[in-house]
Amino acid sequence: MADTMQFDLVSPERMLASMQAESVSIPGAEGDMVAMPNHAPAVTTLRPGYVSVVAGGETTDYLVTGGLAEISAEGVSVLAENALPKGEVTKEVLEEFHRTAEEDAKDVSDHHSAAAARRIADHHDLLLRHGS
């Protein structure tokens, strides 16, 4: 009986984590979800937020700014555009992401403006929550 699954967190530049995990919570575009072993195969895009991995009873959090998660019965792979361990997240980093999101929103087509606005809001939310 498999009670762990393979968890991979990769950013374009490097592989951040690869381990056996008991559960992974993912900030999905349409709401947070928790994946456990033998989850039904799913693909979801990510919104800015924290991915938390429970492995051996310990929880590790990673900040992601967007990307995609692929969930299958054997494991979860998170492809994140930017990913940082929570310990390295500072207010400056969050402000930087927030600024980038705002700048990107300036020149998107109408078709994408709703998504861009959501992205700004998510970043804003992260910034607010960081202090508390």
Partner: protein, 290 residues
């Protein structure tokens, strides 16, 4: 015949050159290792991205509602060529071979009656292509300040390309770079960015995924990232190729300098011997005359 002083200076000059090329070779070797590591580190992401998108794209390609980035505009009148080269020279035929491929491609398209636009990344490629294509160059990306290529550098190019695509500036985008095969072989290559082109997975995976949000929205979100990822991969390959090419070019230069030093030293010794013999003859004939 060159006099002794001249030869001596030449030998000293070539020795200095050899020191420089030797040092450059060693620096390139160190940088090559780093570049290769970066390229390797980026591989899992690109591979996964490709796999997921290949999976998604298979189903979506035929559907009418598929994003334009995947489907294309249905025309191929205006081509955008992104030519990625290095910022620095002294790397053998590296830049020349990329430029050559891009030039051939551009000429072929122009001959077929298409409009060609060009974006250059890296100073050396622009310098080589400026002469023929200065009127179709629409942008240049300067990476001379970039010490270590980050994903955001590629993402900036990707965003720019997509913005131009959204405002219907072109129909097809292709990136030119050099694929890293080994230290001695780098192969100039072209990769089509838009419409997106994915290697269809060999075995169509039987898993049926749940998509959240729906497939088209995911594609909408992912395709721009995929374009940036492809650019990033190409630039990383380019980085490794550049260092590889520089390393072998400098290795050749060092060897040539060594050969030249040997040849000059022999000539120097001969000339010196000739001068001595000459002097001796003069002394002897002078003594005989008495």
């Amino acid at each position: 015949m060159a006099n002794l002083k001249d030869l001596k200076t030449r030998i000293a000059t070539v020795k200095n050159t050899r020191k420089i090329t030797k040092a450059m070779q060693m620096v390139a070797a160190a940088k090559l290792r780093r570049a290769q590591e970066s390229a390797e580190d980026a591989r899992p992401y690109a591979a996964q991205m490709n796999a997921v998108l290949g999976n998604l794209a298979q189903g979506a390609a035929e559907s009418e509602s598929a994003p334009l980035l995947l489907r294309g505009t249905g025309k191929d009148d205006v081509h955008l060529l992104v030519v990625a080269t290095s910022e620095r020279g002294l790397c053998g035929g590296f830049n020349a071979s990329i430029a050559k491929l891009a030039r051939a491609h551009a000429n072929e398209l122009t001959a077929a009656g298409k409009t060609v636009k060009m974006i250059t990344v890296g100073k050396k490629g622009r310098d080589q292509l400026k002469r023929d294509f200065s009127d179709i160059m629409i942008d240049h990306v300067d990476h001379s300040e970039v010490k270590r290529l980050a994903y955001s550098d590629a993402a900036d190019i990707g965003k720019d390309v997509i913005k131009r695509f959204d405002s219907a500036e072109f129909d097809v985008a292709t990136i030119f770079y050099s694929r890293f095969e080994s230290v001695v072989t780098q192969i100039p290559a072209a990769l089509q960015l838009i419409p997106a082109n994915f290697d269809t997975p060999e075995e169509t995976s039987s898993t049926v995924y749940d998509f959240e949000p729906d497939e088209n929205e995911i594609l909408d979100d992912l395709l721009p990232r995929a374009v940036s990822t492809q650019i990033f991969t190409a630039l990383l390959e380019n980085g490794a190729s550049e260092q590889g090419a520089r390393m072998s070019a400098m290795d050749n230069a060092t060897r040539n300098a060594g050969e030249m030093i040997d040849k000059l030293t022999i000539e120097f010794n001969r000339s010196r011997q000739a001068a001595i013999t000459n002097e001796l003859i003069e002394i002897i004939s002078g003594a005989e005359a008495l």
